[in-house]
């Protein structure tokens, strides 16, 4: 299958390793990955912060760039939620039926990374090896907007060497919320602190999620506490391979 990768603006800039891992996993499964270099941003940050007029051209650009793509893979559930939940409304508010048709045509081809693997490609065992104790933070958008359910868990359970540790109160928000983390920094930090307590209680070595945005927030808190726990996007775990023996 030819899979077009929408890396997302923040993964592109801040988390290139996640993109490399997505490419490795999908190519490892025998698929062809393409990267349309004109791509930029889905518009989520502007949209959620109230700058909907700024978000519209970003959305139109996305629709233009990915027109005709067979399958679109996005390693970020909040960007997928933006596209699925808000693009149709944006098109209708813009009073642009043609844009609305293009969005409707695009939506069935948009997949978050774990959705792509489990639903579209029908695979849970990608042949990964990752010998660590891992806990999963189910990000709010993956949980309540995409409703991915146990897809990430099923993928992680098939990883050799990986011990999945349950996260208490896992459905509580980590307090990121984009601009919220800055505009309401004190409350956001209090929410994060509760999330960190739960993570520390698991004694896991690694926290994973479908979203690097939440992981960046959690990592920021863990790093400040010198907790020694790493945050790793699920794609990087699924790209893990057994060390090649030197013999």
């Amino acid at each position: 299958m030819r899979i077009s990768l929408f890396i997302t603006c923040y993964n592109d800039t801040l988390f290139p390793e996640t993109g490399k891992a997505v490419v490795k996993v999908l190519e490892g499964l025998g698929h062809t990955v393409e990267f349309r270099s004109a791509q930029a941003c889905c518009g989520q940050m502007h949209y959620n912060a109230g700058y909907q007029t700024h978000a519209l051209p970003l959305m139109e650009h996305f629709v233009l760039v990915f027109a005709g793509a067979e399958t679109i893979c996005i390693p970020s559930s909040s960007c997928v939620a933006m596209i699925r939940d808000h693009y149709p409304k944006m098109a209708s508010r813009a009073g642009n039926p043609e844009l609305g048709r293009q969005v409707a045509d695009l939506l069935p081809r948009v997949f978050e990374f774990s959705e792509l693997l489990v639903d579209k490609l029908g695979i849970t065992d990608v042949g990964a090896f990752y010998p660590h104790a891992v806990t999963l933070h189910p990000s709010c958008h993956s949980l309540r907007s995409l409703c991915v359910g146990d897809k990430p868990v099923r993928l992680l359970q098939k990883v050799r060497g990986l011990r999945l540790v349950e996260l208490p109160d896992s459905e509580q928000c980590c307090g990121f919320g984009g601009m919220f983390a800055i505009k309401n920094a004190d409350v956001s930090a209090a929410m994060l602190s509760e999330k960190l307590e739960c993570i520390l209680n698991t004694q896991a070595e690694v926290v994973t999620a479908l979203d690097n945005s939440c992981l960046m927030h959690i990592e920021g808190g863990l790093s400040r506490r010198r907790a020694g726990i790493k945050c790793v996007h699920i794609a990087e775990i699924l790209a893990g391979t057994e060390p090649v023996s030197q013999a």
Binding site: F15, A49, Q52, V187
Partner: protein
């Protein structure tokens, strides 16, 4: 008309109020405990119902239908209520409503009233208005009594004294009821309240209630509660005054079938409220001899005017969104500066006041969606929060530095080439702030991040640069 929602217009901005409240460890422990308990109870009784989602959808449909035809349903209600012997008053705003109520009380030559919990009366600051007119209101709901005696403000829609624990309640009762030897067991406290209130139930001639629902086809009013104080307030006094927000209308009696399943389960985790009082006008010599309904607008027609957010008025005040909200869980209700706290308060309070006040509230959310998930009438609170942020930006009320930053970032993200340039620029700009791979002490808005968390520096190679290099190497 001038809309006021309690003292929200004078309240501090959410981030500042929240910052102070977060220092109160006792408050946060009380909040965590109380919200965990109610959430657990709610989840249990909601999961019992296989048709919960259908009930939610049905409730949403009924409420949306009511809003579409509100004018005719209100007229129908007025007509039926009058036929049943009730008197109907229309109030454009809180001060009109307060004036009508004080007028009725004065006409009867009374100077005291007993009240059953009504958030709408708090929205109107009715108690302040009555006291200014020389009338003493007595709250009879246990939590409202704690708030009133403690000269405090409610912090939750359903459990207004959720921020108080029993030793604090004991202290308030000891002082205000002059009970030196009062214990702090729940039965000690409720016994003290019962004794204090019983005398008032029997003596005071005028009762004031809110309404959970008002039925258009029968002109009847519905109050549900758990303590029985409501039943006494609506049946013992000679005169009963009921305040009804105009959005509380249901078309038919049978619509209650939906809402009386949703409300108690969502509010208190009960299958049914212990007391469900439904009445239409005075009846013979039993109960109040005079019945007044005050229909209150106070900004509700403002809210109805915007189709993007009018479903805010579907709210049945169950408080489930407060209990589910991770922000409310940290700060409690007082941070919202309004009688309506939590996610619903964050959308309702600013809208009632036509966004003239409480502009920090739509930002008091991480948009996690937990509120929408539990809302029994399916109000899409996160979408409305986003919409209201948009309205604030449209009015030009967002901070200047934010507007400039958003414009600049919007430009940088508008295509692949500009993004690529911005990535290179970021690596240069970050240098003065970079220490051991982390960015520290970032300026302006970004300081909000680095005060509490580390931030890794922008890596040397972006994904798109790696991809381009890889393409050269493999020739693809």
């Amino acid at each position: 008309m001038s809309v006021r929602v309690g003292h929200a217009a004078e309240a501090e901005d959410f981030p500042m109020a929240a910052k102070k409240l977060l220092q109160n460890r006792q408050l946060r422990d009380n909040l965590r405990h109380a919200t965990d308990v109610i959430r657990g109870k709610r989840a249990k009784v909601v999961n019992e119902l296989p048709d919960w989602e259908e009930l939610r959808s049905a409730a949403h449909e009924v409420k949306e239908h009511v809003l579409r035809y509100l004018g005719s349903y209100l007229e129908q209600f007025e007509q039926k209520c009058k036929q049943a012997g009730g008197q109907v008053h229309w109030a454009r705003d809180a001060s009109e409503a307060n004036g009508i109520i004080a007028g009725i009380i004065k006409r009867h030559g009374e100077s005291e009233v007993i009240k059953v919990k009504t958030m709408t009366s708090d929205e109107m600051s009715l108690n302040d208005a009555l006291q200014a007119a020389g009338i003493t209101p007595y709250e009879t709901d246990l939590a409202d009594l704690i708030i009133q005696l403690g000269e405090d403000a409610p912090s939750h829609i359903v459990v207004p004294a959720l921020h108080r624990n029993r030793s604090e309640v004991r202290q308030i009762f000891q002082e205000k009821m002059h009970l030196k030897d009062l214990g702090d067991r729940p039965e000690d406290l409720t016994a003290a309240a019962r004794e204090y209130l019983r005398e008032k139930f029997l003596r005071v001639k005028i009762g004031i209630s809110g309404a959970n629902f008002a039925i258009a086809e029968s002109g009847s009013v519905v109050v549900v509660e758990s303590e029985g104080n409501g039943r006494m307030c609506v049946s013992l006094p000679r005169v009963l005054i009921t305040i009804v927000g105009i959005e509380k209308i249901l078309p038919r009696f049978e619509d209650l079938e939906i809402f009386l399943q949703l409300l108690p389960r969502s509010a208190t985790g009960e299958r049914m409220n212990p007391y469900n009082s439904i009445w239409a006008g005075p009846s013979g010599t039993d109960g109040p001899q005079e019945f007044h309904v005050v229909l209150l607008d106070n900004g509700r027609t403002n809210v109805m005017a915007d189709p993007e957010s009018s479903e805010t008025l579907d709210c049945i005040r169950c408080g489930a969104c407060l209990n589910a909200c991770p922000v409310y869980r940290q700060t409690g209700g007082h941070a919202y500066g309004s009688v309506y706290a939590g996610p619903i308060g964050a959308i309702l309070t600013p809208q009632l006041q036509a966004l003239e006040h409480s502009q920090s509230l739509p930002y008091a959310s991480s948009l996690c969606g937990a509120c929408y998930e539990v809302c029994p009438v399916k109000i899409n609170i996160p979408d409305i929060l986003i919409h209201l942020r948009g309205e604030i930006v449209k009015r030009g009320d967002a901070p200047l530095n934010e507007r400039i930053a958003m414009k600049a970032v919007g430009f940088a993200l508008s295509n692949g080439r500009r993004l690529s340039t911005a990535q290179k620029l970021a690596r240069i700009v970050q240098r003065p702030f970079e220490h051991d791979g982390n960015l520290q002490d970032l300026p302006s808005m970004l300081a909000g991040w680095t005060t509490f968390r580390d931030l890794a520096a922008v890596p040397k190679t972006s994904f798109r640069e790696w991809w381009a290099e890889r393409g050269k190497g493999t020739g693809t």
